[in-house]
């Protein structure tokens, strides 16, 4: 039964209590593929670290005395949903038990400097190897030992260390398997210490776990431990694998004299409690790395191995402005870490955002294989039928010694008209590994040369002088005053007539003087007579022409009690003179009309002061 143990991050919980914004950002879980393992078996431990940034810290494995620990790769996935980044990295380790019984994998911690999270300890039961499994391990032991091992055995050596490669001639980037075997025909006092070799112009990838077995060489039974590495050459020319070293505690074979004063100490040494420290080294191995042949295709970018390529999209019916996760997967065997993204074609119909790559490596059967996924975020610019043309990928196949070119099938999209706000970018991957630290986090720079009209218009409005904005207020006040004035005029018509009376009379006097000058004194007198009656009517608010002169004078006295007798007398005299000359034009000469106009003018000045 597969056992699953999960732990929550105590630090993240603490963070959630202390600071809501930093809640549960870093978590770590650990699980083993089983809870019981035989002493000669292997256990897979997967530690998954999740966080809210593009990179998460590597877990810090505690000191595990009860297991030998080998790293077996990692896989990573990143998702960004509505701008929130979640990164999850799974680190896989192979554990080989060293002791029988109930063993514990201690808590594994991770820390990003701000937060710390830890798993719960995991209990594992290590049992004795069953008969069947012992037999199954034998085929390894029955492998034919290398010539160097046989030569060493011939010399009668009890312990020796041998290194061998599966090929001494290889192309740049081609996998070379290195095997380092430590043989012993005697029990060791303690676990030997292994110092790996150095490499010149080579990079290495470990091929866990350590294989243990037994073999017979020249009639002697040897137990051996084998460590394997996959090597890849970086440049053509000679390359070298330096010596590997093993330091072991070997029981002393010195005879023990029972009369020796140190008898007990030496006796204990014989029983394996102490021993002699011995160092074993391999010889350097020289390799010849061949350059890749000429004639590489244009799309070749250094990939060596055997690969396939495929392109997929998470959604082929999208709206304009919506994001599409477009993935190009390069899968196969070879140094996938060195595989670069195939050249992506220019797509004028799409906005293409930065790529993310994920790596998933497998080391089954000692072959580095797996897949590398390059994810592009495509955003269609407009509705219509859109397509991503075939993407080409070229690699060198060392088995055939030739270049091969592959291409993906074209991928078509039906793009519908998009919503304005349809921008939800959502890309996630089921499995993956390291992401290029190119910062695919922030959105790309904008090619818009100017801002939208609204902010510019707002800036223009705010840039106007302040007094411009007082204009509407002035207009409002002015219109208010005009409205009030209009209402007042409608409510008090006589008041306005009275105020206008003098102006009208003065105008009439002017017109009469022009008529006199033009030689029309009769018309001038008629004009003055009508004007005088209109003036008195406007002042009194009643038509005085309908009354006799005496009645009119009484009315004026009643309407304006402050009017003087002299003024009333002047009114009567002017009225009589104008009436006389109006109805007897022959009596009026040019000089008389002019006198009347002057008298009218003087009387106006006097009346204006009194008729208030």
């Amino acid at each position: 039964m597969k056992r699953l143990l999960r732990s929550a991050s105590a630090a993240a919980l603490l963070g959630a209590l202390l600071c809501a914004q930093a809640a549960a950002l870093l978590t770590v879980t650990a699980e083993t593929d089983r809870d019981s393992v035989e002493i000669n078996g292997n256990l897979y431990l997967t530690v998954t670290v999740a966080g809210d940034s593009t990179s998460v810290p590597e877990p810090k494995l505690p000191n595990m005395q009860n297991f030998n620990v080998y790293s077996s790769g990692r896989s990573q996935s990143i998702s960004i949903i509505n701008g929130k980044i979640t990164t999850s990295v799974s680190f896989t380790y192979i554990l080989t038990p060293r002791f029988i019984g109930a063993q514990t994998i201690p808590a594994i911690t991770v820390s990003n400097g701000k937060e710390t999270a830890a798993t719960q300890p995991i209990s594992v039961n290590v049992t004795r190897a069953s008969q069947g499994s012992r037999q199954s391990s034998r085929p390894v032991a029955q492998q034919r030992p290398s010539r160097a091992a046989r030569n060493a055995a011939k010399k009668g050596e009890q312990l020796f260390l041998k290194a061998s490669v599966d090929r001494r001639y290889a192309y740049v980037g081609q996998q070379i398997d290195l095997s380092i075997k430590f043989y012993t025909s005697v029990p060791l006092s303690s676990n030997p210490q292994y110092v790996p070799p150095s490499y010149k112009d080579l990079i290495s990838e470990d091929l866990p776990p350590v294989r243990n077995g037994e073999t017979v060489i020249n009639g002697t039974r040897y137990a051996y431990s084998e460590i394997k590495e996959a090597l890849f050459a970086l440049t053509p020319g000679p390359a070298e694998i330096g010596p590997a070293k093993v330091v072991a505690q070997v029981p002393s074979d010195e005879p023990v004299d029972p009369f020796d004063p140190n008898f007990f100490q030496k006796f204990m040494s014989m029983s394996g409690m102490q021993g002699q420290s011995m160092e074993f080294n391999t010889n350097s191995i020289k390799l010849e790395i061949k350059p890749l042949p000429p004639g590489a295709p244009a799309d070749f970018d250094g990939a060596v191995g055997e690969y396939t390529i495929a392109a997929t999209a998470d959604n082929q019916d999208v709206k304009a402005g919506e994001a599409i996760n477009f993935s190009v997967t390069v899968a196969g065997s070879g140094n996938l870490k060195a595989v670069t993204a195939p050249k992506f074609p220019d797509l004028p119909g799409f906005k293409v955002f930065d790529t993310m790559s994920s790596l998933d490596i497998s080391k089954e059967h000692d072959v580095i294989s797996g897949k590398k996924i390059f994810t592009y975020i495509l955003v269609p610019r407009a509705a219509g039928r859109r397509a991503v043309p075939p993407i080409k990928f070229a690699f060198f196949d060392p088995k055939t010694g030739s270049y091969r070119e592959l291409q993906t099938a074209p991928v078509s999209f039906d793009v519908a008209k998009g919503d304005v706000n349809a921008r939800a970018v959502n890309f996630s991957q089921a499995s993956a590994a390291p992401v290029t630290a190119s910062g695919s986090d922030i959105r790309y720079v904008s090619d818009e040369s100017s801002g939208s009209t609204l902010p510019l218009l707002a800036a223009s409005v705010l840039g106007l002088p302040w007094w411009v904005h007082s204009v509407p207020a002035v207009l409002l006040l002015l219109s208010f005053w005009l409205s009030r004035l209009n209402r007042f005029k409608l409510a008090n018509p006589l008041l306005f007539k009275s105020r206008r009376a003098r102006g009208d009379a003065a105008r009439d006097i002017g017109a009469a003087e022009k008529l006199i000058s033009a030689g029309n004194p009769n018309e001038a007198v008629s004009l003055l007579y009508d004007s005088f009656q209109d003036y008195l009517s406007d002042k009194c608010g009643i038509k005085v022409g309908a009354f006799t002169m005496k009645k009119a004078a009484d009315l004026i006295k009643q309407r304006f009690p402050g009017v003087s007798e002299r003024s009333l007398q002047e009114i009567r005299e002017l009225w009589e003179a104008l009436e006389l000359r109006h109805y007897s034009p022959d009596a009026s000469g040019a000089e008389g009309a002019s006198d009347l106009a002057k008298k009218y003018s003087l009387l106006l000045e006097m009346l204006e002061k009194e008729l208030k």
């Binding site: 914004q21 706000n421 100017s450 801002g451 902010p455 707002a458 800036a459 509407p472 219109s479 005009l482």
Partner: protein, 248 residues
């Protein structure tokens, strides 16, 4: 009045042609090829020529982010956001940069739609809108007075009252925006953060530090060398060097 409208209508295209748009493509190409400092210099030229263009700040923010100057990136993204708060690109990058410094654009627990509505118009746009509504209310009111007694007068009066209502709402919105973390604010742009002192001088005790990229409230600008700043989330305030903080 006709001249004023003419100026307003011409304002946008005039501003848009403040620099050669071909230069932008050149700066973007520098950015694309990883020459971030050169791209940043170019974007700063655009900002100098056209300070109301949010994309100048946005692109400069991107270049700064790539140069690992997170504080200055937050500042430029904030400037872009204040000019065009509706842009999804600007919001996304500002939020991303703020998260790098332990902040969020949308406060935790606040509905994103409400936050979007709250910032739908920039502060400058809100002020311009309030001014335009003021104009409209005055002109509609003047029309109502001048049409006094006419059958159109009640309609003009109701229109004026509606506009006055809209104006009051806009003023309330403007008032509410003064509680925004971006109002009277600044960003710590000094690498490694800034020290907060208990007074405006280095003889005062240092009792807190504000990390680079942190959005801070500027409470007092009276001192020549120091700002009095406040950290709302922590509920603390102190004095920090003006040279460490860029005011929004």
């Amino acid at each position: 009045m006709r001249k004023l409208l003419f100026i307003l209508l011409l304002a946008a295209p005039c501003a848009a042609s403040a620099y050669d748009s071909g230069e932008l493509a050149e700066f973007n190409d520098m950015y694309r090829t990883g020459r971030y400092q050169e791209a940043l210099d170019g974007y700063n030229k655009i900002i100098a020529a056209e300070p109301q263009n949010p994309w100048g700040y946005y692109n400069a923010g991107n270049a700064l982010y790539r140069l690992n100057r997170i504080g200055s990136a937050v500042y430029d993204y904030s400037k872009a956001f204040l000019l065009d708060p509706r842009s999804q690109d600007i919001r996304a990058n500002l939020d991303f940069a703020m998260r790098q410094t332990g902040q969020r654009l949308v406060p935790e627990g606040a509905p994103a739609s409400l936050h979007y509505l709250y910032y739908f118009l920039s502060y400058m746009e809100l002020k311009a809108l309030a001014l335009l509504l003021f104009w409209l209310a005055c002109l509609a009111g003047a029309a109502a007075f001048l049409l006094d007694g006419n059958r159109w007068a009640p309609s003009a009066g109701r229109g004026a009252l509606s506009v006055v209502g809209a104006l009051l709402l806009t003023l309330a919105w403007l008032g509410a925006r003064q509680s925004s973390p971006f109002f009277d604010a600044g960003v710590v742009t000094k690498a490694g953060g800034t020290l907060m002192l208990s007074g405006p001088g280095d003889n005062f005790k240092t009792y807190a530090s504000a990390p680079e990229g942190r959005l801070v409230k500027i409470l007092d600008t009276g001192d020549e060398t120091y700002y009095e700043i406040g950290l709302a989330r922590e509920g603390i305030k102190g004095w920090a060097l003006k040279s460490d903080i860029d005011r929004l």
